[in-house]
Structures are given as C-alpha cells and as structure tokens.
Amino acid sequence: MTDRSPETETEADAKTAIEGWLLAHTSHPIERIAHDQDIVTGRILDSLRFVDLILLIEELSGRPVDRAGLDMNGLGLDDFRTIDAIWNRFFKTP
C-alpha cells in the first residue's frame, strides 16, 4: 500500500537520519539509500549492526521498539526492510 500524502518535516527528518546512520555504518561503498530500497537482502545492514539500528529508532521515535518490554516478538525482518517500512512501523502509528 502506498501512502501518497506528502512527507511531513518530522518524517523527512527521521528518514534522513536513518539513511545517514546506515550510510555511516554500512561496509558498502554507497552514497545514497533510496527510502524504498531493500537494506536487508542487499546486506546494507547486517545482523551485527541490527541492535544499534534498534537503539537509533528508539532514540529518534522516543519510544521503545519492543512495545511491551518484550523481546522482538511480533516483529519481522519486513518491519526493517526499507527506511519507509521502518517509518511506517515505528514512527507513524500513534
């Protein structure tokens, strides 16, 4: 499902921050990551960096990723597959 409403400033800022962090932490020689680009399959993000991404999402969104203080129950890799998906899953919903 595509959300065609224009990005708010908050949304653009968060996505840019995540992209910047990924670029700083990936071993790939790339300068840009499209917000709908698969960062998991292409191993732009690997399993070792994953924990740090969680902390970044928490810091930017101001709330814990594991909503009920549980482990990653109920979350799947698809929730982290693209920058857009991360926004939709962890920032957008109230």
């Binding site: 998991v40 690997d46 399993s47 070792l48 960096r49 994953f50 924990v51 740090d52 969680i54 902390l55 928490e58 810091e59 990723v65 594991d66 203080g69 549980l70 482990d71 990653m72 979350l75 890799l77 982290f80």
Partner: protein
C-alpha cells in the same frame, strides 16, 4: 492400532532398501569424555545452589566500577554512593541479560545441530552443556526478576544464515566460544573484588566454574572446524570470517552499555550517554582486556592476521 499388533509393527519397519545400521557405536573423543566426567562431578541443583536474599546491593555494589559502562563519564562522577550502587544493580542485570540472550541462541543452535554427523561423537557432552547453559539462564533470569524488574529485552534478530554450512557452523561455534571467553574475563573481575555483593559474586563464580569446561570444548572444537574448512577455503576467506568475528566481539561488549539501564538508574539523555560511554577510555580498555585472549587464539587459528591482532 495396539502396540502388540505384529502387522502394525511390520508396517513401521524401514523399507528393505534401507542399509542395516551396522556402524560401530560412537565413542567420545578422549578430551570430551574427560569433560563429561568433570561435568558429572560438578553436577548441581540450580534450584538450591543460590540462597536468594530479600534484596541485593543494599550496602555493596553489584559490579566493580571498572565494569560499569559509564565509569568514565561525568554522569558517573556526579552520582553519590547510593546512586552508584543502584546503577551497578541494573548494569549487573543487563550483563546477565546479555549473557542469557547469548546462551539462549547457543542452546537453540546446539539443539538443532547436536546429532548431526559432525558433532555426533560429542553429543553426550553437548546434552550436558545444554543443561548447564539452561541452569545459567535460570540463575541469571532469577536475579533479574527478583531484583531488577526483569530480564532486559533481546534486540538481536535472527537473520537467515547465508554461506555454506561449514562456514555458518564455524561462525556459530566461534561466536559461542568468544562470548564465553569474554564473559569469563568479566566474571573473574567481579569475583576478584571482595567488596562486591556476595550473591552476585556467587553467581559469577558458578558461571566461571562451568564455563571453564565449555571453553575447553569450544577451543578444541573450533580448532577442528577451522582445520577442516582450511582444506577447501583460502586464507582470504578465513580472514573474512575472522573480521566478522572480531566485529561480533565488539557488538556483544557494546550491548553492555544499555540506555534502558541508564533510564532505570534515573540518568538523563540515556542514548547520548551510551555513545559517550562507548567512546570513553574506560570502556575501550575493558573491551581490549576482555578480548585479548580470544584475539590471540583467532590469530593462532589463522582467522585474524598478525597485523589485525593488536
């Protein structure tokens, strides 16, 4: 179908084409058999081994300063004795949680591999090892639940494995060994400080005693796996695996700096504090000390080049 129905039994017999199982019974390699004997001798009841007091850390820290992630930051300097004791309790619970989650992954992976041909001759010992890791997880979770509001969540995520099985197996066993060696260093630092809470020291001591056997097994087993892989993989491949393992060690140790801990201890700017902690000299020197032994071993195995070992 009743169990004494001859027809029913016959229908469950393997087809005639299945070769008869004539292989001789597996014997454990001598080193593993010795570890099995030592394991039997050390057998304990996890539900009785620790006398859990009402509370811990009332008049002692639960970790020495050196193991507290923010020891080298202004936020730590600003804490009074009671504040440091409280922080050390949550830091200790986080250390136990990180270890618990690592052991959880190890047990899951071992359970999946235990009777595969590559480890079948060690299987008896590996069953005992799983039992011991489960006991450790029990003790760590009891501590966290009784005194610190629960186990800190696991933010690791099982990525689908890629690469040939010999490599993913090697990485799996190597990660377990590296975790055991790094935490052995931390366990010993706690036990070696008589000012630390006695219940906490007891748990760390139990862990040291059991892990000595696991580390002995893990080193010998990893040596075998590397030797086998080296027959088909080039030196470059071994170094790439080593580089990954090196990052694994860093990431595992960085998990000891947890913003949730700082929030629980009432500290501000928890995420910035983590960055500050990880950049501090105190944390860097702790990481170096906790990994020096493992780096030496990885170098000896050809997984880390001499110039990367420092």
């Amino acid at each position: 179908m009743s169990t004494d129905d001859p027809a029913g039994r016959a229908s469950r017999m393997p087809p005639e084409t299945t070769p008869p199982r004539t292989a001789p019974p597996l014997t454990m390699p001598p080193r593993t058999a010795r570890l099995m004997d030592l394991t039997r001798a050390a057998f304990c009841d996890p539900y009785e081994i620790v006398d859990w007091p009402e509370s811990v850390g009332d008049d002692a820290q639960c970790l020495p300063d050196r193991l507290i992630s923010i020891v080298d930051t202004g936020a730590f300097d600003a804490l009074d004795r009671a504040g440091r004791r409280r922080l050390s309790l949550f830091e200790c619970a986080n250390l136990f949680s990180v270890l618990l989650h690592g052991e959880k992954a190890y047990v899951a992976g071992l359970a999946a591999r235990i009777h595969e041909p590559a480890t079948a001759s060690h299987a008896e010992y590996l069953h005992a090892l799983i039992d011991e890791e489960n006991k450790h997880m029990y003790l760590f979770s009891q501590f966290c639940t009784r005194y610190a509001g629960g186990v800190y969540p696991d933010h690791g995520f099982p990525f689908p494995a890629d690469g040939p099985k010999e490599e993913t197996d090697l990485v799996f066993y190597a990660q377990a060994l590296l975790m055991e060696e790094m935490f052995d260093h931390l366990n010993r630092a706690v036990v070696g400080d008589p000012s630390i809470d006695s219940t906490v020291r007891r748990i760390h001591q139990i862990h040291i005693d059991d892990e000595a056997r696991h580390i002995s097994f893990g080193r010998a087993h990893l040596e075998d796996l590397v030797e086998r892989l080296a027959q088909t993989a080039g030196a470059g491949r071994l170094l790439a695996i080593g580089a990954y393992l090196d990052r694994y060690m860093t990431v595992m140790l960085e998990r000891l700096a947890n913003p949730r801990v700082y929030q629980d201890a009432g500290l501000d700017d928890a995420y910035a504090l983590r960055r500050q902690a990880l950049a501090s000299e105190g944390v860097r020197s702790l990481h170096a000390a906790a990994t020096v032994r493992s780096r030496g071993f990885l170098t000896k195995l050809g997984l880390v080049g001499p110039e990367q070992a420092a």
